[in-house]
Amino acid sequence: MKRLLAFIKKEFAHVLRDKKTLLILFGMPVVQVLLFGFVLTHEVKNVKTLIIDQSQDATSAKLISKIKANPYFKIEASTLNVRRVEQYFKKGNAKLAMVFPANFGREHAGLHRTKIQLIADASDPNYATTAENYLTAIVQDFNSEINWEADIRYTIQPEMRMLYNPELKGAPNFVPGVMALVLMIICVMMTAISIAKEKETGTMEILLLSPIKPFWIIVSKIIPHLVLSVIDVISILLLSVFVLDIPIKGSVLLLMAESTLFVVNCLSLGIFISVETSSQQAAMLISLMGMLLPTILLSGFMFPIENMPEVLQWGSNLLPAKWFYTIVKAIVIKGLGFPAIWKETLILLAITASLLGISLKRFKIRLE
């Protein structure tokens, strides 16, 4: 026990000595959660729109003013020539063009049936379809207003309720995701570096000479980073409650316990990487190049997992961040208790145990 304490003290000294690293470790999660809480949203707003009104009559003017009043769209120009659209699209100065036919008003008055053409820059399909959908909804709304005046029909009145996030903000979705992402990368990288560094500078030999068991060497590596990460978790949570306005609906204690579990999970992944590699550079590049994009793309907070091909859906199960993301959403936003997340917790536990087990097995007590 005394030996272990001495080792832990040594690791703490390593961590606390490097002030620049320490500053980054504490500052980074704070800055990133704030930044992403305010900035990231899948919402499509201020769509740069071109209006090509070839009819210029009262009906089209009415519809255009309706679109102008809508915060989703920003009218860039009302050019008359359709040929100019391509120029705008190629320079990236507009994303959507709405073309009214030359006889729009007349057709509408006479035949009660007319067409509006929407041209979208679909190079980003997500953006294009969402914008098209919003605009179609406005047109249909306009249409039913006209119909309302023309005849009285029975209608189905849907009463809509948006659960959990009535203002449809981006933050409730992104904050749990960014939290998982930031913790993941920091924890994995920090521990991955720590053993690889000992190997690189040659101090590993000294560690191995000591009578302490490999298991305790690993434990002593994990503990200081665990403490740091838990402080990070607390600061992230404080920020999201008081600055981003996302109250924690469920139990804070449960959330802290789950976060600690996730941190330990990431730390053991870091240990695993550092056992397998011999240099700091390799350890860092693997933990960054290997983790960053897959975690962003596959953990479900950027892109819905159910849209992925089955192989990837299955593969995403191996990512601890995916499970943690689900857990945080359940506790913070839905306010659920442990019975709702025991499965995810068990999976995280299993991943942690197997990572630690493998690392211990592969931990070489002899240097070549």
Binding site: N46, A150, P158, M284
Partner: protein, 372 residues
């Protein structure tokens, strides 16, 4: 010139000596480019509906079959109470609850309008909004399909019908990969360039070999150039492999000139490598360098407009994306590959990136001190 030649020789030897790093630099992007684009699909479809039908009339059944017939919805649960349906939302087994109240059919005949209750899981706001939109549209279509009221039968009023026709330029089949593959390639090239150079000078500091270089008559800019050129070549190699993959595997053929793409990536790499080198000159250990680079890379990547649209950000954030080199690369890749934009379209962005390159590299040269 001779000095640079020798420095290049040294750097190349060091790069090729370490096979495991070389493998990470070249293989990791290839694997990711082959896998990740499949994951990036934001299309909203297969919305899982949990249904609470309290009416059980022929009319409510008609509505249900109409919803089932749409491509967007999947009827996953039929519950007898709202609370049970709510539990499906909690466990993510359903995205939306549709409750048809008792007397739905009767009200239609007596009062000519009915209420429907819809509750949407809105944690993901956009998905919720779109899902709700689709459902309202389906309901409207259902409305239109019903026998018309008394007024219409007399032929006095005719219903207005505004149809919206879509044309999706540059990507008519709305193929998400056409957009994601060039974007992910841009990110991978950026990450490799940034991380590897950030680690480079700092490693010499950590191991101590920098002092040996400092006592030689090598000029500062020679030293920086010697670090820059090998990774610049490496970046171009990775970019070329990526282009080949996008053509052979994903069938994405550039609409615009490949030469223009290479011209842009050449200038762009100078900017990113300069950024890495600058960080490298500021730090004392590889650990610091990687953490700082990671900090910036994550911001660069997530705000570059690939995953979430820039136009939707608050104004101050839109301004910061102008300082983000990755934004320009992703935008230009999209412009040239998908839209066939020409040099004149791209020129302003090329100018900004070139400016980044000059500023960052000059700064790195000045910040690298040969004396302690």
């Amino acid at each position: 010139m001779r000095t640079i030649k020798f420095l290049l020789g040294k750097e190349l030897k060091q790069i090729f000596r370490n096979k495991s790093i070389l493998a990470i630099i070249v293989v990791a992007p290839i694997i990711q480019l082959l896998i990740l684009p499949f994951a990036a699909n934001y299309e909203v479809r297969d919305i899982d509906v949990s249904l609470v039908d309290r009416d059980h009339s022929s009319y409510s059944r008609k509505l249900i079959s109409k919803i089932q017939g749409s491509n967007y919805f999947r009827l996953t649960h039929c519950d007898d109470s709202f609370d049970k349906a709510y539990r499906h939302i909690e466990s993510d087994a359903a995205d939306l609850i549709l409750e048809i109240p008792n007397g739905f059919e009767r009200n239609r005949i007596l009062e000519k309008h009915q209420q429907l209750f819809i509750a949407v899981n809105a944690i993901n706001g956009t998905k919720a909004n779109l899902g709700a939109n689709y459902l309202i549209r389906t309901l409207q279509e259902f409305n239109e399909g019903l026998p018309t009221g008394a007024m219409n039968n007399s032929g006095l009023a005719q219903r207005s019908n505004l149809e919206v026709v879509f044309s999706n330029w540059y990507n008519p089949h709305l193929n998400y990969k056409r957009f994601m593959v060039p974007g992910i390639l841009a990110l991978l090239v950026t990450m490799i360039g940034g991380f590897v150079t950030a680690l480079n000078i700092v490693k010499e500091k950590e191991v101590g070999t920098i002092e040996q270089i400092n006592v030689t008559p090598i000029k500062k800019h020679h030293f920086i150039l010697g670090k820059l050129i090998p990774f610049w070549v490496l970046g171009n190699v990775v970019f070329t492999i990526g282009l080949l993959i996008s053509q052979l595997v994903y069938g994405i053929v550039s609409e615009g000139s490949i030469l223009l793409l290479y011209g842009f990536i050449t200038v762009y790499l100078l900017a990113v490598l300069g950024f890495g080198l600058l960080i490298s000159t500021f730090c004392e250990s590889q650990q610091q360098a990687i953490l700082i680079t990671f900090f910036f890379m994550m911001i660069f990547i997530l705000t570059a407009g690939l995953f979430t649209p820039i136009d939707s950000m608050p104004e101050w954030a839109q301004f910061t994306t102008k300082l983000n080199p990755v934004t320009y690369l992703i935008e230009v890749m999209r412009m040239v590959i998908l839209k066939g934009s020409t040099l004149t379209d791209v020129l302003p962005k090329l100018g900004v990136v070139a400016l980044f390159g000059v500023v960052l590299n000059t700064w790195a040269i000045f910040n690298y001190k040969k004396t302690n």
